[in-house]
């Protein structure tokens, strides 16, 4: 990892009337990193990316892309930056190839033959002379990625690239993003899917209602995630819960009509056999959400600040803290 930063934001704020879409966030993306911006819909991810692309003017704060800012350097800020916001849109009355030619012409310095190359990368060869009006959603997503590759980008910004695709399309898109990341580009990916981010990204910023709820490495995040819960339904939940009271290394909480049992495997085994022996029947025992997904929901749930203190975490260091919040 180099010392230079691809993207640096500090105290970045954007308000639309009474609504604050982005509230003083700070983000640092190093060159060569694969960085995820995660958050539920309305968290401000897209607004942040729009500010990066100069589509929207921030109200306060600093935003630098490879050391350049919009106010000082203008359109030069986008040198080496490619990508798309939400689902990419093209001119429906032009063919796919024509659309790319127009965009390549506006990019400047795109060598001849590059259009055919990128069409091949995203597997649209053969359909490029049809009008975009007849493209499927997945084809337009791929054309958007193709448009992003026209000039050699140093930073690739993808806003929910798998959004709206069918499972095969999602798998292919993730594979493509993975290959792009492996080729040395800095990739900035925004998503509401923790699973996708976990697979590809090194570092992540989790946003909630315009603020940063967490930023740091994926590995750190995994370490701080609450352990996976087992979901238990029994014939008498109250009695079962009472049986768990006072046991070390075991935490049983009621969750959505079921019991969430957390603890080491042996503790859970012992607990299940105990409740069966006391005459309570076990109706189902399944694994709950993946730890990171659970963590994601905890971090981004609205309401009073849901911080690490509220996580049920038997046997772990309660002083473990999460870096993040407002810089």
């Amino acid at each position: 990892m180099t010392n230079s930063l691809a993207v640096r934001a500090e105290g970045l704020t954007k308000r639309y009337g009474p609504l604050t879409a982005v509230d003083g966030i700070s983000v640092q993306v190093g060159e060569g990193e694969v960085y995820g911006i995660l958050g539920p819909n309305g968290a401000g991810k897209t607004t942040f990316l729009r500010m990066l692309f100069g589509l929207v003017r921030p109200d306060a704060g600093v935003l630098e892309v490879f050391g350049r800012t919009w106010s000082r350097d203008g359109t030069a800020t986008l040198d080496g930056v490619s990508g798309f916001i939400e689902s990419p849109r093209f001119y429906p009355y032009l063919s796919g190839r024509r659309n790319l030619q127009v965009l390549a012409g506006l990019d400047g310095g795109v060598p001849a033959g590059r259009v055919a190359e990128v069409l091949d990368v995203v597997d649209l060869t053969g359909r490029e002379d049809e009008k975009v009006a007849g493209y499927s959603f997945g084809m337009r997503q791929r054309l958007g990625v193709a448009a992003s590759l026209l000039r050699e980008p140093r930073l690739l910004v993808l806003d929910e690239p798998a959004n709206g695709l069918d499972p095969a399309g999602i798998r292919d898109m993730r594979a493509l993003v993975g290959r792009l990341a492996a080729s040395g580009l800095t990739v900035l990916l925004s998503s509401h899917d923790m699973d996708e981010v976990e697979q590809i990204c090194d570092n992540v910023t989790i946003m909630k209602q315009g603020s940063v709820a967490y930023h740091g490495g994926i590995a750190d995040l995994r370490r701080q995630a609450p352990p996976q819960a087992h979901l238990l339904t029994t014939s008498d939940d109250d009695a079962a819960a009472a049986l768990a009271a006072g046991r070390p290394q075991l935490s049983v909480t009621a969750s959505q009509g079921r019991l969430a049992v957390r603890g080491t495997q042996s503790a859970v085994d012992f607990y299940v056999s105990t409740i069966v022996r006391s005459g309570i029947a076990v109706r189902s025992l399944t694994l709950g959400e993946a730890p990171l997904e659970a963590l994601f929901f905890l971090l981004t749930e609205s309401g009073p600040e849901s911080g690490p203190e509220s996580w049920p975490r038997p046997g772990l260091d309660p002083a473990a803290s999460v870096a993040g919040g407002r810089a």
Binding site: P18, T20, G210
Partner: protein
């Protein structure tokens, strides 16, 4: 969610309201300024030479070569009677043109003018004196009478 105070609604309306006021003021100012484009002098000064030329053309069609100088036309125009000022566009302009016809007799034709705001007018000539819509040419064919109705434009700044 952080809620910030927005501009009070009164201030929000200020800029467009000022813009509308400015435009209205400009329109009113422009309308009040300047002198009328259509004046009696301009109408008379443009009608006289036009009539002369068209009379010469008409006489040529009928077979008489009349020199323009001998027509000696003079126009006197009036809009809508003594009560109405002789300025401005309208369909109520009446012009009396005194001229010497090709036989040397003094004649007076009454023309009805429809004057438009763009400094142009359509003049309709007296049918009894100067012929109707068509006149017979030297070969007996009916051709359009150049004097029955004709268009004239004048310089609004002359």
């Amino acid at each position: 969610m952080t809620v910030t105070t927005s501009l009070p609604s009164a201030r929000r309306c200020l800029a467009p309201a000022a813009g509308v006021l400015a435009v209205v003021g400009l329109v009113v100012g422009l309308t009040a300024a300047g002198s009328p484009d259509v004046t009696r002098a301009r109408v008379e000064r443009s009608l006289t030479p036009s009539f002369t030329r068209l009379y010469v053309d008409q006489q040529r069609v009928l077979g008489h070569e009349v020199p323009a100088a001998s027509v000696a036309a003079r126009s006197a125009c009036d809009r809508g009677g003594p009560q109405v000022a002789d300025v401005g566009a309208g369909a109520d302009w009446i012009c009396l043109v005194d001229f010497t016809d090709q036989t040397g007799v003094h004649q007076q034709g009454k023309f009805e003018l429809q004057v438009h705001a763009n400094a142009c007018y359509t003049a309709a000539g007296p049918a009894k004196l100067l012929g109707g819509f068509t006149i017979p040419d030297t070969r007996g064919r009916d051709v359009t009478n150049p004097l029955s109705a004709f268009d004239v434009c004048f310089d609004p700044d002359a």
